[in-house]
Amino acid sequence: MSEGVGNRAKKTARLTSGLLLLGLTLAVIAMLSLATGARAIPLENVWTALVDFDPNATEHRIIWDLRMPRTVVGLMVGAALGLAGAVLQGATRNPLADPSILGIHAGASLAVVLGVAVLGMTQLSTYAWMAFAGAGAAMLVVYSVASLGREGATPVKLALAGAAITAVLHSIINAILLTSPRTLDEIRFWQVGSLSGRPMDIALQVAPFLTVGMILAFATARLLDGLSMGDDVARALGQRIGLARGMAGLAAVILAGASTAAAGPIAFVGLTVPHVARAITGTGYRWILPYSMLLAPILLLGADVLGRVIAPPGEVQVGIVTAFLGAPFFIALVRRRKLASP
């Protein structure tokens, strides 16, 4: 007995120091993100810009006007995607669940496409709200469809409903894009997912949603542990599984919707990161969630920094880099070990 407690204390200590290490890594990557770009700015000037901002210095303006918003958006979006993926995988007990599989990305994309094609939107800042609304609407539809029938929204039904709704939404998106090249032109950069060109306003606009989503996500940690034992066991333990799924779903929609609003639909981060987190922490959402929340922005910001330097004078958008890194990484993960079931 005392040995078990000792082991647990050891595990807690190990995972806590792991979290600190991740936090440190993230801080380094964030600094790298501030220091890297098309314009060579010496490190000491980056530092001066941070501690002693001079609005007349061009280099300082570039740090604060371009790289800072980009870094902040990257941190927020990364954390949100990691959490959303982990929560979704837990709530649906589906190791492949991520915002793109449950219709959230497709809903956001369709809303933005409609905004451009029908309402004539042309600017990034107006896309955000459309994306957010679309993500919420799509998740609501997926959830309602999955809830039909006697057992309610079971994991399998959620996955099937998500896949079906995603297919429907994508066919509508394609129909619009194929008949309206102007719309395609407008949104093809948005559709890939990118952190560049986002003003700080966007970060500020989505920040409250992300905060609420994060609080909700962490509040569901214990419920997710219950769900991971299967609906029957969870029910036997006295959990209200409908409520648990509802809360987790709401958290995921808020997080994924807000992140899509800010950066476009970014694939693979929400899917891959929770598996890495689970490989480090083992089961138990108390740890999977914070690990996902730190690992994901490391991946996202790291990919963004990489995208800025590999193809000068242009940039490779972060959505492409994460897909490029994420896919083989995911395959390696699958090959290395049987994925722990969420």
């Binding site: 098309a38 061009t58 303006r61 371009l66 042309t122 990034l124 407008e186 560049s196 004078p313």
Partner: protein, 313 residues
Amino acid sequence: MLRSTMVALAVFAGSALPAAARWSFVGNDGEAVALDETPVRIIASQDAAAGLIPLGIRPVGIYADSAVADAKVLQGLDLSGIEIIGQSWGEVDIEKAAALEPDPIIGEHRPLDNSWSGGDDVVAALSPLAPLTGPIQGYSILTLIEDYEALAQSLGADLSASDVAADQAEFEAALSKLKTAVAANRDLTALAVWAGTDALYVAATEGSSELMNFASWGLNLIDPEVAEDRGYWETLSWENADQYQPDPILVDNRSEATMETALAQRTWTLMKAAEAGRATDWPAFWLRNFAAYVSELDKLTVAIHAAGANLAP
């Protein structure tokens, strides 16, 4: 030189062409198109339509590169009664085109990549219906307009009609105002750009006919350093938006969104002229007639005076 030496002849005699040909048209690629009678049913590309309609030649069908509402080149033209047979680059409705029973198809030839308006698919779809001909895009919009005038004349247009003459007179007046403004502000340097959220794209003068015109009228245009594989554009990260300090800045106005995008970038104002609001329109690649040219010249003249006033102590 790319300068088109196209010749249009209403009557053609003593040549390799069929003796019966009463209308023929020769481009400087040497390709001659000959028809038994002066054609009346013309299918035109959007650019050719914009060149011909103001001269009194109305096509029966137009194939556009985008939705007609978005096609800057067609703005302000009376398109009533003209069938639109294509609204996307590379696409054309063959059935509609065939039903129009065209005599010739008139498009524009792009010598840079040896292509015609609408691209190879459109050429493949339309050329079985009627012979394809038209002027060549070169180093000057004025040359292009002259080519359209020659073509229109061969098709029976009256170039001395009052509205045609009035358009030209207005253009001459606008041009002389521009030249005066340029001459009075020799120290200004302008820059032509397209703004995206990903980067600022800076245009090389020789990639665009109207910029070549501006340069020939004395305007100093900054020539960017274009990487070898990047055609006529230099890609500038928004972090390097102050690479050049032009005044005024000309922004591609094919779509209104381009200026909005430029203004929305925080480092747009690293260019002092942008900060002072001295960004004006660049009629990029779409001018095909005098009437359209006049309003664009007027905007440029105003911008040059404003930039000049700033330069003066």
